[in-house]
Amino acid sequence: MKDFIIPSRDMGTPAVKSDVTVTLTVDGIAVSVPAGTSVMRAAAVAGISVPKLCATDHVSAFGSCRLCVVQIDGMRGTPASCTTPVSEGMVVHTQTDEIATIRKGVMELYISDHPLDCLTCAANGDCELQDMAGAVGLREVRYEPGASHFAKRSAEGPNPEWRPKDQSNPYFTFDPAKCIVCSRCVRACEEVQGTFALTIEGRGFDSRVSAGMQSDDFLSSDCVSCGACVQVCPTATLIENKVIEIGTPEHIVKTTCAYCGVGCSFDVHMRGEEVVRMVPSMDGKANRGHSCVKGRFAWGYATHQDRKLEPMIREKITDPWRVVSWDEALGFAASRLRQTQADYGRDSIGVITSSRCTNEETYLVQKLARAVFGNNNTDTCARVCHSPTGYGLKTAFGTSAGTHDFDSVEETDLALVIGANPTDGHPVFGSRLRKRLRQGASLIVIDPREIDLLKTPHMGLGLHLPLRPGTNVAVVTSMAHVIVAEKLYDEAFIREKCDWDEFLTYAEFVLDPKHAPEEVEKLSKVPADLIRNAARAYAAAPRASIYYGLGVTEHSQGSTTVMAIANLSMLCGNIGVPGTGVNPLRGQNNVQGSCDMGSFPHEYPGYRHVSDTETRELYQRVWGVELSPEPGLRIPNMFDEALAGRFRGLYCQGEDIVQSDPDTRHVTSALSAMDIVIVHDLFLNETSNYAHVFLPGSSFLEKDGTFTNAERRVNLVNRAMTPKNGYEDWEITQMLANRLGGHWAYTHPREIMAEIALTTPSFAGVTYDLLEREGSVQWPCNEAAPLGTPLMHIDGFVRGKGKFMHTEYVATEERTGARFPLLLTTGRILSQYNVGAQTRRTDNVAWHPEDILEIHPSDAENRGVREGDWVRVASRAGETTLRAHITERVAPGVVYTTFHHPTTQANVVTTDNSDWATNCPEFKVTAVQVSPSNGPSDWQSEYQTHSDLSRRILPTAAE
């Protein structure tokens, strides 16, 4: 969908919610708006643009520029329309002789201290100062040249008021010479992002925008490069480097970010087939106009020189790659897959789909396994992140999904954040939560590490329960103990929405003294008082919400913790009402979608078991083939079966399993044992070192489709440019399927969605027409909910009665001891994403060039480790080296690292322990020893050599 006009007009001040409607007239036009709306916004609703400079609907009104003055009958003087609220019967005039004179005077002053290099200015054609000079009819500037901020030199010599450009941030430039000190950037940093990195220093003529201290530039300051300041800047003071380089865009394509599970809507500003910038959409229902450094700026990987654009094959993984035609590559892949099945049986091959791919792509890949391979060997990377969410929430509530939309956070009184780090992992949601915390909502964090959310400026109550990794179930169950023991539960809710007898049995279970905070303190290291206070606060808040991440799921008891969380919410009636709920923060853009689309080996799309006859017969009818009623292999099972010699072929789309799955040696041995590994990706990733066929993929900018975010929101992805590799990814899967006799004939992803809707009850109403009309919809979307379902379980649970499961703590087998006395846990950092395949190929490396091991000062001192030293991290699975950072953010006995860089290979040390229900790996707990080291381990050096050898490509004949 191409949009050739500016999509959303700036209404000047933010929308206001009110039950009371006020009617007024603006320039003779009657208009009705919610009480509390500004006169400026009311005028905008009436179609009248009042001139303005400091006002924008991204931030609250400030009233500093005096350009937006109006006259109101019965009111004295000329009030600023941005800060004046409407009242019933008000009569507003936006243009009178007096106002015109004031505005010209104001503009004349602004322009007297602004350079007039408009023709060569990067904001030329997209400058609000320029527009306003035109709007108020400014024709002359009568001031004599004098003191200014913009002239580098005057006749007397260098101008002491002039400051050079700040180009420290790789994505945007700050040019103080063009600043009009409207303070929009400062307010956006506070109100929208919540970072408070910017300030206005000095007074009067000395007022300047500053990134913190005098010594700070934008990069060294607290700035997180979200881009909010750049977005609101009315001039060229803060502007994207790409706009400086290319020029202004000429059309806009709406799309959805391909990074985390927040699923921000973006306007891709294009010039021809070149992206000029990505700007978050004001009408995006997940992000409401905000973005983070990844979505906003880190899209350069899509055109990075490392991208491979031609198919390649090789006989053996020790051979160099050979560039071939699509025809040859697909023929080679198809014949090897069929040969493998002929030699080793129908179940000897399978697929892995990716949470980075669209719903339509994922649907086709699982269909390839089920309908063309004839088995159910399909799994997705959600296996290694949120599979316990699927199992746990389905058991408790009846659906494998989060209960609320992100807007709901605006109404929460308390947020309980467990095993998640929203300001780094889900930054736009993190900002929305921070905004609510600044308004007075309370925060409880259960996490081994002191996350940044706890340092939110101006927030209310903030409790941190720094538990020992692996004790989530004990701590959350102990909170339930307190709630039941102190009778803080919501009896009416439980009687109505759950089974009372079941609750009584559960109450008996949690009241066991072993769940008391004093007992749990012994194993979790969380002070009993803290557990009690947290439980009381959660129960006392009128509307309490729970947000959780992989710190919950990636444990041997991941599914149990999800159920324990569900228990808490049911106990306190925190479900079915805005501001409450149980909300998993999904790691990747389409984790929810890839699960919905039947990627799991035991479930068809819509979470229906493969043994369910009715569903199987439906797919047999639609697909025209016999289907297997037996569950297939999960990813870890595939590796085990490969080492047993029975699983020998894999088609892996958009997923780097060598880097992202635990116990790397186990994964690489398994892959090395296979006869045919097909990697379909943008880059020659780590997995491709073990592949026989490489199929070049397309980026999200090059294809149509949909992503489903953490709120079950199905968002459109629209093609902004021609695929550089020649095909959209769904077309490549279709070509492979057809080589294997699939007879597929889709001509556009909308036809794939039509098949999904036809066969999946929760998607029955989803069509591209609807998505184009509504922007997005949240499933279930069907006859009962034609526009989707923002909140689930309002009138009762999907499964009927909510189910209280008994959540007994079972210690993980991964225990510390004399050899491995520390616990390693892992996480994500703001500027990098997942295994880094995308973000490492952008300027985001300016913030995080390598993975660092965080270690407590006492543990460091015991080992003779100093800040910045190379350290060796060893577990029973393997060892790696990285640099140490000494910090009290982690407790003694706990070390922490990220996993964004392949040379670090954090997963060389993680083990094959996994969640009891879903085999989701226990990434978050590994017993390790840390010791000083001289540099990379032997394994790392060998790996690098092997990796270089495996990526050789034979020169083509023409060269």
Binding site: N376, S556, P629, P631, L633, D640, R646, M805, V810, W916
Partner: protein, 73 residues
């Protein structure tokens, strides 16, 4: 055995640890149902072989074997 199939016993043991605390029904049946709906036939058959050959396992896991089904040949 080609590889560490004891892993299957370990995984079933983890399930037993969960289901032994649930009041609704016998833990062995719940473990077996979880295995039937989540494990591929080959894994189920390896598991049954291990139990039949006397592998050391939690009593619930051993009892579960009676309810683990294999596809009709």
């Amino acid at each position: 055995m080609h590889y560490d199939t004891m892993k299957l016993i370990r995984m079933a043991g983890q399930m037993a640890d969960f289901f032994r605390n649930q009041p609704d029904r016998p833990a062995a049946e719940a473990v077996a149902e979880h295995i039937n709906s989540n494990w591929a036939p080959q894994m189920r058959s390896d598991f049954l072989d291990l139990i039949a050959s006397g592998a050391e396992a939690d009593p619930i896991v051993r009892d579960a074997a009676a309810f683990v089904q294999l596809p009709a040949a």
